[in-house]
């Protein structure tokens, strides 16, 4: 329908394309929720395979940690620089530490970690499971009476739920440290005051809310990327498509769910 209208009126092409994407997205959300329910159902049943979960936690941590740390430290630094420039205009430079701490823990720590993990871990999960799909390894599991959801998807989801908050804690700490470095070493703020302002207004709830968000992001990224891998088809090219799709969809899921989670937590 949108094709015809797009030809008739170029102004309609954009809403048409958007509509198509939204429709595809909704279909995909339907499929993903089916996998979510299946993971929940099979995840609560023994055996629990702690060894597989630890392996996935390790993979996830090792994969994403370096990039998370680098991103977080520079984000903390730029945040200090920017807020200093802005706040100087109304003589509020002393609040730089507060702004960095609140932004990192509440928002940037979890979201940046989520986006980076979407790119790193999401891609690697989709590529690995996608390869297993197109080389019939997932079929082989099924024929041996082992559920691929239970064996492959559940450990990854649990690892995501546990590891994203861990990565986020590192991001928070490193980001705040980066802000401190810029504030104190470059902008010559008083170190005692900077630290006092950092922790005076920071509440446990700020940190916890960030970690809860991170946990949800971790579960979503693993779920979506595993789904993309499971449904890959058409050889190496299909695996490539699944990988790109996993990164795009899980990044979007992080950003969209972030808004709703934040509004629930603060509301």
């Amino acid at each position: 329908m949108s094709d015809a209208s797009a030809q008739g009126n170029p102004l309609l092409a954009v809403p048409g394309a958007v509509g198509r994407v939204v429709l595809e997205l909704l279909t995909e959300v339907g499929c993903i929720s089916r996998y979510l329910f299946q993971s929940l159902r099979e995840g609560v049943r023994p055996p629990y395979r702690p060894r597989d979960i630890f392996r996935q936690m390790e993979v996830l941590g090792v994969n994403s940690m370096p990039v998370v740390l680098i991103t977080a430290v520079f984000t903390g630094m730029v945040l200090a620089l920017q807020s200093y420039t802005g706040f100087k205009r109304f003589n509020a430079e002393s609040l730089v530490g507060t702004v960095v701490a609140l932004s990192m823990t509440r928002e940037l720590g979890p979201v940046l970690t989520g986006l980076i993990t979407s790119g790193r871990a999401g891609a690697s999960i989709a590529a690995e499971l996608g390869t297993m799909r197109v080389t019939e390894q997932i079929d082989a599991l099924t024929t041996m009476g082992v559920s691929a959801v239970k064996y492959l998807m559940v450990p990854r989801i649990i690892a995501g739920i546990i590891m994203l908050p861990v990565l986020t804690i590192f991001a928070d700490v490193v980001g705040i440290a980066g802000g401190y470095f810029v504030g104190v070493e470059i902008l010559d703020a008083n170190p005692t005051v900077y630290i006092k302002r950092t922790f005076d207004y920071l509440e446990t709830q700020d940190i916890i809310s960030g970690l809860i968000k991170a946990s949800v992001f971790g579960g979503l990224i693993a779920l979506i990327s595993s789904y993309k891998g499971f449904t890959a088809d058409g050889g190496a090219e299909g695996v490539g498509r699944a990988t790109t799709g996993a990164v795009v969809l899980s990044s979007m899921a992080v950003l969209i769910s972030n808004y709703f989670l934040t509004s629930i937590i603060t509301g």
């Binding site: 080389t135 019939e136 082989a140 082992v146």
Partner: protein
């Protein structure tokens, strides 16, 4: 034991199976022959419930695979062993872990016991000293044989072989043909073998069926197939490029 009735399956616009009917008796070895791309792998995947028909039925001991829930399907699948055309070894596991995978998952056997069984099954398929190699270190023919060892590791009732001898040298192919026969005699299994290899087909078959254009066009003993009056069957078994089957 296995009954396939009016099986239809297509992918998108492409119709692959157009009403396959086939009965496979308990304890027999049924060989399915047919051209490349004729849908043999698709057919065998319906027998173990990896694919489901658009129309028609697959019955295992009278029970319809389509009507089963997940738990019932899993129970049925565990009576099967399957060798995939691509071997489908788990590339994150070494050879003995591949062969012993189902034993590790479904039995209480210890690691050493599983390794012992894996070693024995690998010996059946002519492989020694490979227990700790990774699949990426194996040749194509070796992967096939590891896949075969994995398929028979759980002493299945029914074994599905998708081109067991493709990619093997003639001597190794003969070893595998003998193995298929001896597994059938020793374990009394029902076997379904897909092959292009007519030597292998005559060797292992109790009965043969030919798949052509989405249907089974002939079923019979090897002798009946050899003496078939059907021009398509005759052309296929003699391997001639001239006749009713044209290369596409």
């Amino acid at each position: 034991m296995i009954a396939i009735e009016g099986l239809h399956k297509g992918f998108g616009a492409k119709q692959v199976l157009r009403g396959v009917d086939l009965n496979i008796e308990r304890g027999e070895t049924m060989v399915i022959i047919g051209g490349s791309g004729s849908g043999k792998s698709v057919l065998i995947k319906h027998i173990i419930g990896l694919l489901f028909p658009e129309r028609g039925k697959v019955l295992i001991d009278g029970a319809d695979l389509c009507a089963m829930n997940d738990a019932e399907l899993t129970a049925v699948r565990r009576r099967f062993g399957m060798l995939f055309q691509s071997a489908a070894l788990f590339d994150s596991m070494n050879v003995w872990q591949n062969v012993g995978f189902a034993l590790m998952q479904h039995t209480a056997l210890s690691r050493d016991e599983v390794m012992g069984i894996a070693e024995e099954r690998l010996k059946w398929v002519g492989l020694t000293d490979v227990l700790h190699l990774m699949p990426s270190e194996l040749s194509g023919g070796m992967r096939k044989r590891v896949g075969l060892a994995r398929a028979i590791a759980m002493d299945p009732e029914i074994v599905l072989y998708d081109e067991p001898t493709t990619g093997l040298d003639p001597i190794m192919a003969d070893v595998i043909n003998r193995l298929i026969r001896s597994v059938q005699e020793r374990l009394g299994v029902t076997s379904v073998v897909i092959t292009h290899d007519m030597v292998s087909a005559y060797h292992v078959a109790d009965r043969m069926a030919m798949l052509y254009k989405g249907e089974i066009i002939e079923v019979g003993t090897p002798d009946e197939i050899r003496g078939s009056a059907n021009a398509i069957v005759r052309q296929f078994i003699t391997g001639s490029s001239e006749g009713p089957i044209t290369a596409q």
